[in-house]
Amino acid sequence: TSTVGRPQPQAKGEKTPISDTSYVGIDAILEQMRRKAMKQGFEFNVMVVGQSGLGKSTLMNTLFKSKVSRKSVQPNVEERIPKTVEIKSVSHDVEEKGVRMKLTVIDTPGFGDQINNENCWQPIMKFINDQYEAYLQEEININRKKRIPDTRVHCCIYFIPPTGHCLRPLDVEFMRHLSKVVNIVPVIAKADTLTLEERDSFKKTIREELRANGIDVYPQKEFDEDAEDRMINDKIREMIPFAVVGSDQEYQVNGKRILGRKTKWGTIEVENIAHCEFAYLRDLLIRTHMQNIKDITCSIHYETYRVRRLNESNPATPQPNGVAAQHEALSHEM
């Protein structure tokens, strides 16, 4: 191996002085990548799951500082609780400092709202797998698109009602099934009904129950890339689930206009970390780990689906008995 000499510090846009003989310019690739990313834009697909009334729409609007939730898009539709779980997705183009993003919010009305909620995660599981399937079908085409449209669910925010006791069987069942196919970020919804002590003990209980049931939520320990990653993620794992409060109303507090919820006993400032953990959730989902969330979806959850799909025999066309063995042979040969 050989190394190149250290470059002289360069100001952007300055022409390389001829006397600088040791600078090659390999690090210019970072700028090239940034340019390409700005030109192409990003996609982000987030699903919200939880019983009705837990503030899912409000939280989405708060997170993305814009009316992105389904309800905001269809404000006049009479809100009724559907008889089964429905999957409704709504997309928006947003732009910030030249960075463009196609944000898709996937709502799941009807989840957990029936009397009998058995298997209410199944339509959700099916939806998630259908997105993987759509991507896979596009990927294996002969003539495929330059950029395959990514509708895969990158992140599923699961809303836990602020009972303060423990997880309900529905919560456990849902997360147990879904954590295997998608990144789950559990949050304690409407956390302004819990005192700080209640909140902490609730969180501890939840973490314990997740551990006891073998549920791996994001960020999953096994996907930490290196020691630095692990350190950062350990801190996050000690804080989840984030206790959040959402709001799209602005109030005047100490001369500043901030998002909050005004009550008779005070105003809860959404972005104040002394009041609730919304800011941590926002930072995790958007400002620091968005790319990582997408990467885990792409290189782990999707790949797991793909392996399973390519290994099973297609139920649509009945196959003779030798096919399973041939698949084995195929995977060995390949």
């Binding site: 834009g41 990003f42 950029r147 449209p149 998002l259």
Partner: protein, 422 residues
């Protein structure tokens, strides 16, 4: 509108800072952690300064000895180096064509180059088709840029150059350069470049165009496009010019400074190849050249996409079908081999049976002989026995007669005896 994002998305204004503007940084950080890969193929006759140019471009001494001119064919030699500049780690692979242009018959020269490029595509395709795959940690060996070294004759392209570039232009990004261009005068160089460009155009050779769709680099790229092919000079030797040490080639009549843009286009090449378009070269390789290879390869193997109305053919299903076919053929071959084996065994058996039969016959013959002999002997024995019997009879008869004679003679003898006595 966000490019290529599909329809149905509406633009919404943001009422505050959300923070996803950090996404390009997140993406760049991830790439920095992973490191980058860049693979350059240098095609050109021996002695055109390919190795020196690589050394000069990357400011380092790559290993390697100058190759001899007596190679029997064209081979490709690739070397991978790990370079680092600030926080960027680059895995650079330089592939050299060894022996290109040295043979008397150069008809097949381009073949090993095409095969090499295809082999890298094939390796990637195999990885992509695997069931359990690790694409994000795959070491990409596909050629991102092909520097084609043109000999500084000053006249025109050689037919070998045209043929080779034509074969390569749909497989790799070609950047033609005039090597050792300090051998050409300025005026000759301008004419040479024009001639080369027009020959490339008239022969339909598609060389790599620096991209002009992004405003931030459109201008510089389109200017550079008009300077192709770049006339370069390479050197790792340093010469003192004024009070600076510069890379240069020193002649009695003057010094050619590598990084002096009035002397040669080296700086332009470095700018285009590394500092401005390295990422685009990688992207074109993946989205254009590799996709073309993949499409052709899969079609060759008999896969096809169906029209959007009917259910799309799953690659897996078609692969299964192909697999069945293949297994069927295998079985058939196995059957054939088995038949052949059975046949051979039969033949051998027949042979052995033949031999056995012969042995039996021999045995029978011998037995018969033996029996004949035995019979003869028995007959002889019988005749001998008969003789013996006859003899015995005779003997018995004779004895009887003797006895009778004796008795008569006995009386006779008695008489005789009596007579004697008297």
């Amino acid at each position: 509108m966000v490019e290529g994002m599909g329809e149905g998305a509406r633009g919404v204004p943001l009422s505050g800072h959300v923070g996803f503007d950090s996404m390009p940084d997140q993406l760049v950080n991830k790439s920095v952690n992973h490191g980058f890969c860049f693979n350059i193929l240098c095609v050109g006759e021996t002695g055109l300064g390919k190795s020196t140019l690589m050394d000069t471009l990357f400011n380092t001494k790559f290993e390697g000895e100058p190759t001899q001119h007596n190679q029997p064919g064209v081979t490709l030699k690739s070397n991978t180096y790990e370079l680092q500049e600030s926080n960027v780690r680059l895995k650079l692979t330089v592939v050299n064509t060894v022996g290109f242009g040295d043979q008397i018959n150069k008809e097949d020269s381009y073949k090993s180059i095409v095969e090499f490029i295809d082999a890298q595509f094939e390796a990637y395709l195999q990885e992509e088709l695997k069931i359990k795959r690790t694409l994000h940690s795959y070491h990409d060996t596909r050629i991102h840029a092909c520097l084609y070294f043109i000999a500084p004759t000053g006249h025109s392209l050689k037919s070998l150059d045209l043929v080779t570039m034509k074969k390569l232009d749909s497989k790799v990004n070609i950047i033609p350069i005039i090597a050792k261009s300090d051998a050409i005068s300025k005026s000759e160089l301008a004419k040479f470049k024009i001639k080369i460009t027009s020959e490339l155009v008239s022969n339909g050779v598609q060389i790599y165009q620096f991209p002009t769709d992004d405003e931030s680099v459109a201008e510089i790229n389109s200017t550079m496009n008009s300077h192709l092919p770049f006339a370069v000079v390479g050197s790792t030797e340093e010469v003192k010019i004024g009070n600076k040490m510069v890379k240069a080639r020193q002649y009695p009549w003057g010094t050619v400074q590598v990084e002096n843009e009035t002397h040669c286009d080296f700086v332009k090449l470095r700018e285009m190849l590394i500092r401005v378009n390295m990422e685009d070269l990688r992207e074109q390789t993946h989205t254009r050249h590799y996709e073309l290879y993949r499409r052709c390869k899969l079609e060759e193997m008999g896969f096809k996409d169906t029209d959007p109305d009917s259910k799309p053919f799953s690659l897996q299903e078609t692969y299964e079908a192909k697999r069945n076919e293949f297994m069927g053929e295998l079985q058939k071959k196995e059957e054939e081999m088995r038949q052949m084996f059975v046949q051979r065994v039969k033949e051998k058996e027949a042979e052995l049976k033949e031999a056995e039969k012969e042995l039996h016959e021999k045995f029978d013959r011998l037995k018969k002989l033996h029996q004949d002999e035995k019979k003869k002997l028995e007959e002889k024995k019988k005749s001998l026995d008969d003789e013996v019997n006859t003899f015995k009879q005779k003997k018995t008869a004779a004895e009887l007669l003797q006895n009778q004679a004796q008795q008569a003679g006995g009386s006779t003898t008695l008489k005789r005896d009596k007579e004697r006595k008297n």
